[in-house]
Amino acid sequence: MSEYVLKLEGITKEFPGVKALDNVHFDLKAGEIHALMGENGAGKSTFIKVITGVHSPTSGEIYLNGEQVEFDNPKEAQYMGIAAIYQHVTNYPDLSVTENIFMGHEKIGKWTRRINWKQMHADAKSLLESLGSDLDPKTEMGSLSVAQQQIVEIAKALSSNAKIIIMDEPTAALTHRESEELYKITEQLRDDGVAIIFISHRFEDMYRLADRVTVLRDSQYIGCWDVDKITHDQLIVAMVGREIKQLFPEKQNQLGEEVLRVESLGQIGRFKDISFSLKRGEILGITGLVGAGRSELCQALFGIEPYDEGTVYFEGKKQVIKTPEDAIQLGIGYLPEDRQAQSLILQWEISHNISLSALTSISKKGWLAEKKEREIAKELAEKVDVKTKSIFDPASSLSGGNQQKVAVAKLLTTNVKVLIFDEPTKGVDIGAKSAIYQIIVDLAAAGYGIIMISSEMPEVIGLSDRIAVMCEGRVTRVLDKSNATQEAILEASMSKKVNNSKVG
């Protein structure tokens, strides 16, 4: 028996166009909590999928209890005692909680092969109770809140009696109290001899729980340290690759007159009573935990799902925004969070992507002006520095960062004055990141009003003139550049309603 329950050596995973993992090492001892850290797009998610058998690695070896293994499908990994809680909720909305928990390892009668519902419901109930939740296991999954679904996901991992549990950002959508609950459970599991891989953005999670930490960056293995033997700054350097300050360009923006003001904006069940204003040349950061209502707010401003109450003033005039066309007409551009699903048409050539929002203006009476389209595409693609040879290449041939640049270029085709960036650097490698920062800063300097949603605190702090922190659908605090610290943001983004949690 090896010292390590799980050991991965030289794992490389290539996707068409992307090397998602490049020679990554990892080891895990029984009864330890091992934090896996790295920025978005560092390869953590892919790494988990390799461990759980969803992807098979292009090269490299996996050892389980000292024996080399190969997983052809998730079932095999599950059978070997590996369970994962994924970052993106991967459940069955139409099925009951019990079924979601036991999917893939249902309890069946020995001879009858009949699903033992009674026992499954009871087991689900006790599992949920051990997580401090009194959810009825017969509830339909789709009717639960994200936080409740996350708890079910955890229960699901626990239910398989796994020896290795991987938690991918489990606390991201949890309130403070729930996080505490989770810490306790995680520790208890560890004490029971389960090995846990804990992935989180939150440093506090790591400090609170982990024994060791492995850092990935740009798909590569950076190192593995005992948590108490590495300083915070060293860790950040390991994750980001250089001192954060160098990442952010010098800002030369000058604030102009007010361009956008919202007053007590609200959307039923999503956010409430939001007021702020935005000046030309200003970068307003909006941050908070996932599920705090940031994206919903900005999507409402862009007319994707209209707000139910409140008023929007654009350049001093009261305006109603009901559809994205309204917003674009006014001069509001929106860069969605998920560029592949919401912004780009991957199989289309770059030029067509860039021109999509502005087709009306680059056409003559409804006929496409293809020459003009190509000129505009070239000009903008060069402006944001897309790394490509020709504007006729499909967007799918670009790397994540360059795709994001195309998405930004697309915004600039229309006559916008306010730009909303929703997680602009999500899943983008470090080089492209600073390029995107440069673009944002340049745009601000050019007089655009910019709203930037981000979960990454350094980014928010490094770029914003002001920072609005959201928590559970409300703005809890607006910080100036001068008093914006990680601690202040964190505090404002945590729920105050500890005893009035909606979960459970």
């Binding site: 290539e14 068409p16 166009g17 090397k19 862009f302 994707i304 559809t323 994205p324 066309e325 917003a327 674009i328 929106y334 969605p336 699903a341 919401q342 912004s343 780009l344 048409i345 991957l346 199989q347 289309w348 030029s351 067509h352 999509l356 929002s357 087709l359 009306t360 056409s363 409804g366 006929w367 496409l368 190509r374 000129e375 595409a377 070239k378 693609a381 060069e382 402006k383 944001v384 520095d385 897309v386 790394k387 490509t388 040879k389 020709s390 504007i391 006729f392 499909p394 799918s396 041939s397 697309k410 229309t414 440069q438 673009i439 340049d442």
Partner: protein, 338 residues
């Protein structure tokens, strides 16, 4: 910001030009012509070839909007019933004393309304799939047609009305002339206008389209209404050819139309395919059917052939898409490695 220059002129490539599904269809048409003229001595003369178009072009008008619908990842299986309903309404109104011109107007209106209703339900209730909506309206529209005419037929149109289905302009069938004109319009609409580009955008990525300010709902509504309108035009031609109508006409036309569109290389996953392909496919299927008819092949064999052809063509297009993707992947890898 940067000094990089990006190419915005595309070199013409013969390989790319010929590597299009449409050429495959052209080849198919040529082969069908060769086979047809070798198996039947009656095929290869002007009268046969032009008269044949009269037999299969009526439903081909629905192909134009169906291409757009399928590019948008939707489907409309109510078009056959729409043809029946608008035809029945036109004939009953005429028999009730309305002037023929107004009756034709009513036919177009009913067709457009049927299509609009489909589109409206789809847009209003986004969770509903097009299959469900058009399946329900397919039963409903034909049901209404039956309510109006029961088991009667209606007709006795003025003689000029037969011009639609039987008339010639010079020596070219009127239906062919109109079809070619509309086909050119449809190709331009889908390939050369903002509207067409947006149809493709919706089919390729509906969310991204909406986020890019494309009026997804409005375009869907227009295209479905267009489908109804074209079904009404089909109804006019069909009714003119029969000189009278019944509630059971145009049964299963939707199947024929979908088969043509699928053979035309329009990917069932949306976003792919060209109008020209579907138009060529109309002639492929039309002349295939006509040629087999000239050697008096039994109807059941025809059924099997059309069914197999449909599946075979969709299989080939599917594999083609997959193959292309794979090609792209391997190309990328090389790029990355170098």
């Amino acid at each position: 910001m940067s000094t990089r220059t990006i190419n915005n002129t595309q070199e013409f490539s013969w390989k790319r030009f010929f590597l299009q599904w449409e050429w495959m269809l052209v080849a198919l048409i040529i082969i069908i012509f060769l086979i047809n003229s070798s198996i039947s001595p009656y095929f290869l003369n002007y009268l046969s070839i032009s008269d044949a178009t009269m037999t299969f072009l009526d439903k081909a008008f629905i192909v134009f909007p169906m291409v757009m619908i399928m590019i948008m990842r939707e489907i409309d299986i109510s078009v056959g019933s729409t043809v029946a309903l608008s035809s029945v309404v036109m004939a009953s109104l005429y028999n009730a004393g309305l002037p023929m011109v107004l009756a034709i107007g009513a036919c177009l209106l009913v067709g457009a309304l049927c299509g609009f209703f489909n589109g409206f339900l789809l847009v209003k209730y986004r969770q509903l799939s097009a299959v469900i909506v058009t399946l329900s309206t397919m039963i409903l529209y034909r049901g209404i047609a039956y309510m109006i005419l029961e088991d009667q037929s209606a007709g006795e149109f003025p003689t000029w009305f037969s011009f639609f289905g039987w008339g010639y302009i010079g020596s070219v069938p009127f239906i062919l002339v109109l079809f070619v004109v509309m086909a050119i319009g449809a190709v331009l609409l889908l390939q050369k206008t903002v509207f067409g580009r947006r149809v493709y955008a919706i089919g390729s990525n509906p969310t991204a389209s909406r986020f890019s300010g494309v009026k997804v709902d409005k375009i869907k509504l227009i295209v479905f209404t267009l489908a109804g309108l074209m079904a009404a035009i089909t109804a006019i031609f069909l009714t003119s050819r029969m000189g009278s109508t019944r509630p059971n006409v145009a049964n299963m036309y939707e199947l024929d139309v979908i088969a043509m569109v699928a053979l035309g290389g329009i990917s069932t996953a949306g976003g792919k395919g060209k109008m020209l392909g579907a138009i060529l496919a109309v002639f492929v299927i039309g002349y295939l059917q006509y040629g087999l008819g000239l050697i008096n092949i039994p109807a059941q064999m025809l059924l099997i052939i059309i069914g197999v052809l449909l599946i075979a063509s969709v299989t080939v297009t599917n594999l083609r898409v997959k193959g292309k993707l794979q090609k792209k992947k391997s190309k990328k890898k090389v790029k990355k490695a170098s």
